[in-house]
């Protein structure tokens, strides 16, 4: 049975619907990510779980208990805020002890729990300082320690890495994951950054317009986007919209702008319906030679070459103006801008999904 269950929750602000009839189950001990562009309702969903937004309809159950009408202070849910929201007038130790004080725990227990929480986030030794005397990364660790010190039934993190610089982001990403595993806490974090979601989550729920579009492991969402929105949002892919001209036994052929594109498909497609070919740029290859155009090969001209260190990104265009990109390891990327080449892919690397309408 699900540990946390969102049962058809809806939240409206005036006439705008922020969360629309959303259902989601979270398993105990997992780390789930709510991923989506800004305004997709992910933060509202997180705040509803924490108790700061009262849902208009639906129910939220935590550990089998309906908490929909329970105020935030009685939910035992730890929350790490995007801007950390550390109490500026309290020392690091007092910040971490805050939740235990509110629960009127004995002083000795508070001291031990605070020390343990600070050790877990590797912050022993700065307990007496004020938040403003700490670096951004340290503040993030205090916020995490404060949330886990109350031994919450659920840990929520709102854009936990967005205020850190790139280098620190990778460190904190691993740190949050480590702390979550060591404590065995069930956690949900919200982000708009797909690489954070792919790297940190056990499962990710991709949201758009207040709904969950797909929930699955990062690898499966990455390889098998269920919806054109996800195909465009996750990973770098060539997205080509067209109409199905052939479909049989797990493969399909679409026609788009004079091109015939072959790939595999999971959903049943019928001839004539609108569809989209999703070809990941890192699975597209360029090669020389005067090959003929077929279902997995397009003659193109390189319009731009961008060196990215380990990879080179090529932007190409075919004779009818369809733009296609390829990301290739630098070692195999000996092509110049202006050159005429062939862009090809394997049938299993091109996914044909039903179009939006």
């Amino acid at each position: 049975m699900a540990y946390l269950e969102l049962d058809r929750i809806t939240k409206r602000y005036g006439t705008a619907t922020a969360v629309a009839d959303l259902s989601l189950s979270v398993v105990e001990g997992e780390m789930l990510c709510l991923l989506g562009p800004s305004g997709c309702g992910k933060t509202t969903t997180l705040r509803a779980i924490a108790g700061f937004e009262h849902v208009d309809s639906g129910a939220i159950r935590l550990g089998g208990v309906d908490v929909t009408d329970i105020p935030p202070e009685k939910r035992d849910i730890g929350l790490v805020f995007q801007n950390y929201a550390l109490f500026p007038h309290l020392s690091v130790e007092e910040n971490v002890a805050f939740g235990l004080r509110m629960r009127k725990r004995p002083a000795a227990e508070i001291r031990a729990t605070v020390a343990e929480a600070l050790r877990l986030v590797q912050l022993d030794g700065v307990g007496g300082r004020l938040p403003r005397q700490l670096s951004g990364g340290q503040q993030q660790r205090v916020a995490l320690a404060r949330a886990i010190a109350i031994r919450p039934r659920l840990l929520l993190l709102d854009e936990p890495l967005s205020n850190l610089d790139a280098k620190l982001r990778d460190t904190m990403r691993d740190e949050i994951r480590r702390v979550q595993r060591e404590t065995g806490l069930t956690a949900i974090f919200v982000t708009h950054d797909q690489s954070e979601a792919l790297a940190m989550a056990d499962r990710m729920a991709v949201m758009d317009h207040g709904r969950i579009v797909q929930v699955d492991t990062p690898a499966r969402v990455y390889d098998n986007p269920a919806h054109p929105f996800i195909a465009g949002f996750i990973g770098q892919a060539n997205l080509i919209e067209g109409r199905v001209v052939e479909a049989s036994g797990g493969t399909a052929l679409i026609e788009a702008g004079g091109l015939r594109i072959g790939g595999h498909c999971r959903a049943a497609l019928s001839v004539g319906q609108s569809a989209m070919a999703v070809i990941k740029t890192d699975r597209s290859r360029l090669m020389r030679g005067a090959g003929v155009a077929d279902e997995t090969t397009v003659p193109v001209r390189v319009t731009m070459r961008t060196f990215l260190g380990p990879f080179v990104s090529f932007t190409c265009e075919n004779a009818t103006g369809v733009k296609l990109s390829a990301l290739m390891p630098s070692a195999d990327a000996q092509f110049e801008a202006g050159e005429s080449v062939l862009l090809s892919w394997r049938v299993e690397d091109c996914l044909i999904i039903p179009g939006v309408a």
């Binding site: 108790g51 935030p72 009685k74 849910i77 805020f81 509110m102 404060r146």
Partner: protein, 260 residues
């Protein structure tokens, strides 16, 4: 550069003389043995301070003034805290109109406020008392407390209250454990400024005091209508010294900037 700097210092000295000069004249007059006021300096004496001790009405009025200043500032600071909290959170309908209304005593002549309150009290048949005087002063000093509180709240992160609640504090405890301590400097500064404005107020008190509730400025004003002698200078000097000590004390020892 050097010449400019010299000019700047000269200007500063002029400004200080302009601001503090009159006070210094009063201070010198209070220790001048000459009996008429003002007059050239004759001899240093403390007799005017001793004479002050024989006039109990001044001490009684000073006690009234202190009580009124403390009570009205306490009311004003509490209202400013709660009002400032609600207005800064921007969840209030007509919030702007409400804050303008709360600040309006600042733009209305005190004599008009005094007269208006007197008439309203007459209409509802409430007799003048210490309580009515305190409430009137609270209304009058509310803008000072509110301005400082609003500026304090403008730097306050309301997300801290969500943090406190997620950690188990109900709204009231979150207010006491988070909002109050963070706003403390603004509240103390607002309270101090309000108390000073209430203490020196004459126009409002003139309309609303009775012989039993007469404040220091009212008694001094009445005294000076019949005669002017250096005893008033001595009194004024004491008031200035006490007010300065209180302001500097708050500034220095509580590390709170009143004159920000």
């Amino acid at each position: 550069m050097k010449a400019l700097r010299g000019l700047g210092i000269g200007w500063l000295v002029l400004v200080l003389i302009f601001l503090l000069g009159p006070t210094l004249v009063v201070l010198v007059d209070s220790i001048n043995s000459a009996t008429s006021f003002p007059s050239p300096f004759e001899q240093a004496t403390l007799r005017w301070y001793r004479a002050l001790g024989e006039h109990e009405e001044f001490l009684d009025a000073a006690i009234n003034s202190v009580e009124i200043a403390l009570a009205s500032s306490a009311i004003a600071t509490l209202c400013a805290f709660l009002g400032g909290f609600a207005l800064s959170r921007r969840r209030v309908r007509f919030g702007h109109a409400i804050s303008t209304a709360m600040l309006s005593p600042l733009f209305i002549p005190e004599i008009v406020i005094g007269l208006a309150i007197l008439q309203v009290l007459g209409l509802v048949a409430l007799p003048l008392s210490m309580l009515t005087l305190i409430v009137a002063h609270a209304v009058f000093v509310l803008p000072m407390a509110l301005r400082l509180t609003l500026s304090g709240f403008s730097r306050f992160d309301f997300g801290l209250l969500d943090a406190a609640r997620s950690l188990g504090a109900n709204p009231a405890r979150a207010m006491l454990a988070v909002t109050l301590p963070i706003l403390r400097p603004s509240l103390i500064a607002g309270f101090t400024l309000s108390a000073v404005f209430s203490f020196v107020n004459l126009p409002l008190s003139m309309f609303l005091t009775t012989p039993r509730t007469a404040t220091l400025p009212v008694v001094v004003f009445a005294y000076m209508e019949s005669r002017i002698d250096p005893m008033i200078a001595a009194l004024a000097t004491l008031v200035v010294l006490i007010a300065a000590a209180a302001t500097i004390g708050v500034d220095r020892f509580l590390r709170i900037r009143i004159l920000d």
